[in-house]
Amino acid sequence: MNLDIRTEEKEDYNLLHVSGEVDAYTASQLRESLLPLTEKEGASVIVDLSNVDYIDSTGLGIFIGALKSSNHYNGTLRLVGLNARVKRLFSITGLDEVMDIEEEEEAQ
């Protein structure tokens, strides 16, 4: 029940690698890493969730907060590598309609 977060600075965007489980306990860690990245004018942030195997509404709430912040600063936020389970939660809640998300590519 751990969450590991690593930020990678690319030329014109920040890439946040998240791995583990996002729940009530670990969500604050995600917020602290993600939110500041969105709080710059025009910032572009990509969150890689391919190693996240569990997420619940506390995690979804963090992404909504980050989307609002990103929107406020005219930036972009994109979530990539969602596995089928994680993607399903975004669909059930309708978040896939408002967020830029991309599913994990099928393993060959």
Partner: protein, 162 residues
């Protein structure tokens, strides 16, 4: 008539965020040995975590405990997550429950309110009782649609029944 309860499991854990994962893993173990599919187990884990997170966030000003009770039936699991804390304003919370409305501007999106909505979506039956405390009663049927049937149309026995 309610069918017989095959097994009952209960535990009392501190109402703190670091214990939500403990409840989640516990339900995963129980559901797994009852024969639930991988996807159903994942649904149960999220539903229990959401219910516990509600207790952690709303029930107590200072430390308290939450109860997790599971009744296992032949064809379903009934899970109760309860607190003895102050009843959080149930009506207010219910009002906020719902999916994301994509017609709304992004700055108006709410960061909360998805928890109960998810429980409702992932479980087959959900009841909330709140007077002195709050109890969320959640039921999920065992392989309701996907169970293999034999030549006579009788569902194959599940692991729990073998």
């Amino acid at each position: 008539m309610d069918k017989e309860v095959l097994d009952h499991v209960e535990m009392k854990i501190p109402a703190r965020a670091e214990y939500v994962g403990v409840a989640r893993l516990t339900i995963s173990g129980i559901a797994s040995r009852s024969g639930y599919s991988y996807d159903d187990i994942e649904d149960l884990k999220i539903a229990v975590a959401e219910a516990c997170t509600n207790v952690v966030d709303h029930a107590y000003d200072e430390g308290g405990y939450m109860g997790l009770f599971c009744d296992l039936y032949q064809d379903k699991i009934e899970i109760v997550v309860s607190d003895r804390g102050q009843s959080f304003h149930l009506e207010d919370i219910k009002k906020e429950v719902g999916p994301i409305d994509s017609a709304k501007p992004i700055e108006d999106l709410k960061e909360g309110g998805l928890g109960l909505f998810l429980i409702d979506s992932l479980m087959d039956k959900v009841e909330i009782n709140g007077e002195t405390g709050v109890a969320i009663v959640m039921t999920k049927f065992l392989q309701r649609d996907g169970r293999e049937q034999d030549a006579n149309g009788v569902p194959a026995p599940t692991n729990a029944q073998k």
